[in-house]
Symmetry: C2
Subunit: 496 residues, 2 copies
């Protein structure tokens, strides 16, 4: 029997995904295991896959199939069919505008830049990373030119990570958020720093691993279909329908660093494990955007992991692994994990100052892509802006513009999705907690009903809806920052 154009697109998508997922393993392995001299060859492998995927996706017959499938659409086509076609069309239009040469060059440059960044960060020497960054920025500008834009090239880059996002609208959202945050930040950081000396002690990596594992299992993370490993920069890779891998990093003087890494990445991992595996390779079986992905990680990290209820449930277990914690009470622990602090590192910052870090990176990126900031000027621009926002002098690029891995992956336009994630996480958490049984479960330290809600409302919906519509469908109204601001006020200014 002859296949329909739609069926051919499904089949092609599955093949591209199957092969593309190999690239995810190659990339994961580079971060976690690959010996250093393997770099050059790995870069060539990555480039080959990028080229192959590009060729498959841009084959002229794909365009014909899309047209044919559209013409077969009827008024009562289901939402799955409509969404797949919407995304295939969008992807095809974008991908065909890129020459294969650019795709391969980008993949090659990424692998080398990632390695140079790690070295530059280690030595705190921006100059080691600068030529790689220059290269990636040029390639991204070239991509943006291929795609075309009306406002700024940055718009085209945003679309890689957040379908439907625009620079203008994001600027508005983040500036509004900043205005609401500033008074909370000022008040929250005015209190004298919390004395954490009662937490001091040795936390063996083996015991941290065992404790984190227990927590992740309780969250619902399936270890038969996933793992936790160690990497410099924590991340989550959903590299197959039943193979979701998290990484975290360990500090033997502080178990909270690896724990919050796991809470965050397992949030991403639960989303990946909650997608419909049988639809993998179709847009409707894939995560819809980073702003939604990040809503899941921040939900588990902050709304679960930094809650009073969480520590009521988990402090006794932590004390089994780390006996000196037996003398710490829940209130102290709760305050320790919710201390507002003007500090250098985004991923270690508290919830209330976090978005200021994001805003800073967003502003720098916009300047780079509007042509108002050259690569060499980045450290100074970063440092002076950081001092304005945080009142702290940056003496060390490793704690400044080199702290994050993203630029080394050629990822520009990604950072603002972190703030979208925070906004969405609070908005979704508030909606879920408006269900009395979910609220009482969460307050009792039990998260199964929360996960079930997310599975139904978010995970299983894949990319059927656009990100904004998905949140609106799940919660009954469009997301805005109100829930986040309320949450932060409750948590950081409980008396006011």
């Amino acid at each position: 029997m002859c296949k329909t154009a739609y069926e051919k697109l499904v089949e092609l998508g599955e093949e591209v995904q199957l092969v593309g997922d190999t690239q995810a393993l190659l990339s994961w392995d580079q971060e976690v295991l690959m010996p250093p001299k393997g770099l050059e060859y790995r870069a060539r492998q990555m480039a080959w896959f990028s080229g192959w995927v590009h060729d498959k996706q841009t084959d002229s017959k794909v365009g014909e199939w899309i047209e044919e499938a559209e013409s077969e659409l009827s008024a009562d086509s289901d939402e799955v069919t409509n969404a797949n076609l919407r995304e295939w069309k969008h992807g095809f239009e974008r991908e065909t505008k890129l020459p294969r040469r650019l795709v391969e060059e980008f993949a090659l440059a990424q692998v080398h830049a990632k390695s140079a960044w790690a070295e530059a960060r280690g030595k705190s020497e921006f100059s080691i990373f600068a030529p790689h960054l220059q290269k990636l920025v040029s390639l991204c500008k070239e991509q943006a030119e291929c795609w075309g834009y009306t406002g700024t090239p940055y718009d085209g880059l945003l679309d890689k990570f957040e379908r439907g996002a625009s620079t203008v609208r994001l600027t508005e959202t983040l500036n509004d958020l900043r205005k609401s945050l500033i008074p909370i930040v000022e008040e929250a950081t005015a209190t004298p720093p919390f004395d954490r000396s009662c937490l001091e002690g040795h936390y063996s990596i083996e015991k941290q691993k065992a404790f984190n594992h227990e927590v992740a299992v309780a969250m619902g993370f399936d270890f038969e279909a996933g793992r936790i490993d160690t990497a410099v920069h924590p991340f989550c890779s959903g590299m197959a329908p039943h193979d979701t891998r998290l990484t975290t990093r360990y500090d033997e003087t502080d178990f909270l660093s690896s724990l919050f890494g796991v809470l965050h990445e397992a949030g991403h991992g639960l989303y990946e494990q909650g997608l419909k595996g049988e639809l993998r390779g179709q847009p409707v079986g894939n995560a819809v955007s980073l702003g939604i992905h990040e809503s899941q990680s921040r939900l588990w990290e902050n709304h679960v992991g930094r809650s009073h209820a969480f520590w009521e449930r988990w402090l006794p277990t932590a004390a089994k692994y780390f006996p000196h914690l037996a003398s710490v009470d829940v209130e102290t622990m709760y305050r320790a994990v919710n201390q507002a602090n003007l500090s250098y590192i985004r991923v270690e910052s508290d919830e209330v100052t976090y978005d200021l870090h994001v805003l800073l990176r967003f502003e720098i990126e916009k300047l780079i892509f509007s042509g108002d900031l050259s690569i060499d000027e980045i450290p100074d621009a970063w440092n002076s802006r950081f001092e304005t926002y945080f009142g702290l002098p940056v003496e060390d690029n490793a704690n400044g513009c080199l702290q994050d891995i993203h630029w080394s992956l050629g990822i520009f336009g990604y950072f603002p999705t972190y703030s979208l994630g925070n906004i969405n996480a609070a908005h979704l958490a508030a909606a879920a907690r408006s269900d009395a049984s979910i609220k009482s479960d969460m307050d009792a330290g039990d998260y199964l009903s929360l996960l079930t809600w997310m599975r139904e409302k978010i995970h299983k919906r894949g990319s059927i809806l656009m990100p904004d519509d998905l949140v609106a469908e799940a919660t009954g109204k469009p997301a805005d920052a109100k829930a986040l601001i309320n949450h932060l006020r409750d948590r950081y200014l409980p008396g006011s």
Copy 2:
């Protein structure tokens, strides 16, 4: 400028290797890390790559290029050119005889069989593995039919692992070897078992890892271009020119198990690291055969690792990691690692009984492929034959026919290369030691000059020569079992 047919073949070979090497990572990852539910998807990925590689290798234009390149050959073509063409032609002829369907089916079956074998071995239940084994045997028979044969289908299978090998000749070699071994085995196993109680103690895995690492570095293994990980069945994967990965397994009551795993696999690894990386993807840049590969692993495991000189050098270091070894003297250690024993497990057996294990597996395989033994009859056939050879009743299939991973990979015809490896290892070691400076270095526990010799004579020669010719070139005469027998007599019957 137009490429010559030869250049096109080089280019194609490099691409096939680059992509095929990804499959090596997928396979390594399945053994070492992959979560169990990832199996099904991984199987589909493996099958895709097998199919893709097959398509590339059997494209009709490859045949045309080979013909064209052959016609361009002149009388003074160099050995590299000649060898590449010899191997391309041989590979093309074999590969084009296989339908793509069979190639993919085989890859799929392997992944499932490997997982079923692990379960079957764990539970010692042959029936769990039997249907998978049946499937793989059928597929291998089908392969052999495609290739055609004059004697037995087993000949075609042998060629996968040992170019130029034949069932008849191997049978002769192994039977001769057995005849020479039997009196040594009888005498060596007649002495009362060595009292190993002085070695008893706790060997933490972390310390074993550190000790093994030190030994591997001293051997010349480059950790900037390789790693050691943990797996149920120790193996070595040369998955890229500068990415060679070993695995071993740990026993907290016996550090020798992981150490000899590392010595053996690092022997393979040194060969992989010694190949000319810039020629990867051309036959001349690849290892020539398993009988040669195994000569390198057995050389380091036995001729180095079980020597008196090795323990003079390493026992003091071992005692730093494991203080209770401080009271053990070198002579005792030497005897402990050279105790002849009639035992169940091939990979743990001593040098003198090792080849009897191989012979047994070889005989069973021949019976399977001559149609004289059905799958269900394997355990009984194994057990009765084992009792005849070893005088021990097999009460447990995990210690019997299920002990080795190979069949689960659809690998038949591989086992005899272990004995070829032993023969070649002794032959090469004798030749190297005929150089007085190598001998004196080895006897002083220094192996750099030995490695340099192997690099020049074996590793860098890749597949330029056929296996037998390579050994003859390196040593000045064809390999035979004399050096092995002399070595075993010296080591196991020192008084006689």
